[in-house]
Each structure stands twice: as C-alpha cells, then as structure tokens.
Amino acid sequence: MIEVHLPGLDLKNPVMPASGCFAFGAEYGALYDLNELGAVTIKAATLQPRFGNSTPRVAETPSGMLNAIGLQNPGADQIIKNELPRLEKQKVPVLANIAGSEVDDYIATAKKISRHPAVNALELNISCPNVKHGGIQFGTVPEVAAELTYKVKAVSEKPVYVKLSPNVTDIVAMAKAVEAAGADGLSMINTLLGMRIDLHTQKPVLANLTGGLSGPAIKPVAIRMIYEVSQKVTIPIIGMGGIQNADDVIEFFLAGASAVAVGTANFVDPFVCPKIIKELPEKLNTMGVTDINELIGRSWKK
C-alpha cells in the first residue's frame, strides 16, 4: 500500500533521507535499522576529496536553515572503499548523489559510482558552479543541464535522477530539457539561495556568504514546482523541501511526487524518517486510500 516502483528503485515505502543530510548512513544507522527506509540517498560524491567551506557553515532562519557545507566528502574512491561496502550489507536501496565542477568530473564520478553493486541509481546534483563557464550553475541553463544529463546517462550503469535547482525562472523548461536528455527521474527541489547577516559582525553569518535555504520555509515553493513540472513530464519525481511528517508526504504526492526525501527534518528529529514511515499507512487509512500511488498528482488530475 505504500510501495512505490521507480526506475532502479523498488521502494517498500516512499521515504528516503535527502542527500547531504544523512552522510553515508553510519550515524543514523547507529540509531535505527536503515532497512526501515525506502532508500538512502548518500551525500554528494565528487571525483576528488573536498574539505568544503570554512565555518560557520549553517545558520538558522525562520522555519528554515541555510547551509554552505561545500560538498565536503572523501571523494569517489574513498566512498567506494569505505562507505559503500557498509551500505551493500544492508538491503536498503541506495541513491548516490554526485557532483562536480566540470562535465568531466561528473562523468568520471558517475562511471565509478554507478558501477558499484550497492548503488541502485544516481542523483545528479546540478546546483554546482561550472568552473569552465564562469561559475554559472549547471542547473540554471537548460542546455547545459541537458548536455550534462546526456553525458552522464551515456556512462552510467544505473538510472539517473536529475536534481533540479529551484533558483530558476522556468523550472518546467529545466525539467523538460533533462527529460529529453534521457533523465530517468527528477529530484526536486534543491535549496533556495539565501543569506543571513549577523548584526554584531555586520557580515554574512556563513563563511561562504550565501547558503542553501532548506526546511519547512521552502515547502510552498517545492509544492508549486512539483505541481507544475509533474504535469509536463512523464518521468517520476522524488519530492523534497521541508518535509516533516506524513501530512507533508501526502501533500507532495498530491502535488505530483512519486516518492519523497527528508532533509533538514532529520536534524530536528533524528528519528523522523522511521516515524513518518510508521505514520503514513495510518494516515492513508483515515483518508480511505489503499495505495499511495493513487495520490500521485491528484491535486491536478481531473
């Protein structure tokens, strides 16, 4: 009743932690059995190890938070060596988020990571500055995002989900471009670009100046974008942005998502994912819904 089947991801429930909010599963895995989850999305892997940005890396905002972690990760090789084997022992499907500064980085990372047996699908984080194009994000120009998708698809051994940036004028154009380029699914949304200034230092709180806004504050933007995009593409959407409970999950399904990811809420309540998974069937029962798949896009379907 809460099973969902997406390319590469056969999920016994539609709830997974969002990339970057769950590291590689070790910490939350010490608190509960990761096999309870629909899937695990791991932190962005880059070709080379990255230390990330200076601290402060997070700041609180009204019903949200800003982060500028800076893609800290040990690099694809170390992830394959140290992190994926641990996840391989679990039964839970793995969605591997990958990032880069150039198209070639993505390609090399996708090749390595997608080949690993623990990985069921790739999630392409395109909210990264493209160093070869003056730092403009891959995710803000449809042609650039499409080219990247196409090239990653060409080398990936697993289905590819493209994670869209909400910081664009026309999210539907972005979605259609990556769908046409072969994406198997979409993840949306990544964080909104924001800033907070400290009144004492009179400078931005984050060492990186700007950061990504996540949490309940952005939920209305995520719902709107999924509502728009799901009507214009045929590939499934993993929805995220401010999810905190089963009600939110259902709102995302109604908007048009076929699965969901929970990010920031893990920091507020480390048990939030299993709690939602437990709450979900009860909630569907009270709604008289026998299969969660019925709800996908119901807010716009006739």
Binding site: C21, F22, E27, A59, E60, Q72, T264, F267
Partner: protein
Amino acid sequence: MIQEDMRVMAHEEIADHIFELKLQGQMVQQITEPGQFVHVRISGKTDAVAPLLRRPISICSADVKSRTLTLIYRSGGLRTGTELLTHTRTGDTVDVLGPLGHGFPVSEAPAPARALIIGGGVGVPPLYGLSQALAKRGIQVTHVLGFRSAKDVFYQTNFEELGKTFVMTEDGTYGRCGRVTDLLETVPFDIAYACGPTPMLRALEQTITDKPLFVSLEQRMACGIGACMACVTQTTDPNDAKGYRRVCCDGPVFKAREVEL
C-alpha cells in the same frame, strides 16, 4: 544516545540571563564523561518549526540516582531560541537528544595529581561536572573562572566546595580583575582542562605547552550527531588522514592543538 521528553524539575535564573535547568529522564544513565552535551529542541509543541534547529548545551552535572541532569545556559534575549526556553516551567517536558559527543578524559589525570580547570562565561558549566569527577578520584582541583562582570558570575560556591576557586571579571566588578590567563603562572598543576570563548582557548594553547591540556570547543551545529558536516574544524596536522574533526561527535573536547581554533 536517545531522544527523550525530559521533565523539568527546576528552572531558575541564577545570574543575569543565566538559567539553571534541571531535567529528569532515562538519558542520565547513558552519560559517560563530563563535558558531553545535549541537543535541546526549543520549539517542543505541536511540530513547531521556529526556532527550527536544536541548541547544543553542555551537561553541567548529572545525578544517576535521581535521574537528573543540570544544564546552565545563557538566554540570548529577544528573538533567540534560548529566550523561548526560559519560558519552560517545572512540570513541562523538554525534547532532548543526548548524551552527545566525547567529554573530558577524566582518567588522563594520573591520580594523585593537581588539575587546573579554566572556564569562561557559559563555558563554565561542563567544568563543574568535570571537577566533581576529578575530586571524586581524589585529585586536587583548582578553578579559575572568568566572567565579564559581577552580574554574570554563577556557581562560585559550588566550585569552592570542590577546590580552590579564583573568580575573575573583565571589568573588575567582582573577584580579581582581568583574564583567566593572567593567573596561570601562580597556580601549580599537572593537567589542565578548559572551556570558554575561542580567544581564551587560543591563549591557553599558547601558554600551556608543557602539560596536558584539554579544550572544549563550540561550533554551530545542525544534526549534533556527525551526519551534516556543519561543525567541522580542521586538524592542525596537515597529514591527518581525514584532515578534519566534527565538534559534535569527535569532540567537543579535544587535546590542545589537535584542531585549529
């Protein structure tokens, strides 16, 4: 580590904007070291979303028998999360995650020995539990506690019961005038422990180079359990395998000069 709705047993303002909060729950049994901390959700009721993030607060002391732990925190005043916490009353519950992190290694002090405890402002609380633990092992403890001003001083008599205690204020309105580092030369010790503002810790790391020193760090946190990478700090050793430490789970207590301050 557990998440628990702990019961408020007592809650009072013990100095200007400084509150002492006593909480009861199972969590107390899991505390292993002084200097560990808890992650407190300020907006407990009805899935409230503002303030969103938990607040890291050191465990000041704990009593296993009564299953009670004591927190001492500073209310940041209007529009901060901690101000909201001050409205919590006896009998209420508070959503707490903990115990978290690695605290002060009490066994590092080869007993009998003389320990020096140096605290500044809201860095003082975890040192009380530390001093209790050291005193219990028969170690002679001396405390040097720095505050900004007379109105900020707290827990002086509590520390005095455990050992010699020097209180200093920056503006000289109470105790000795000056900074905690001014006193170091006059106090004999074999091991030192410190918690307080980063400039203070930095000064101590520069001064105390011939004896073991442990420092407890602060960093903005999100998860508090090692998963988000918000709280990292670089190792001083450029050849360190990881190159960084997470304050929330590798710390908050580190050996002096292990990480960049």
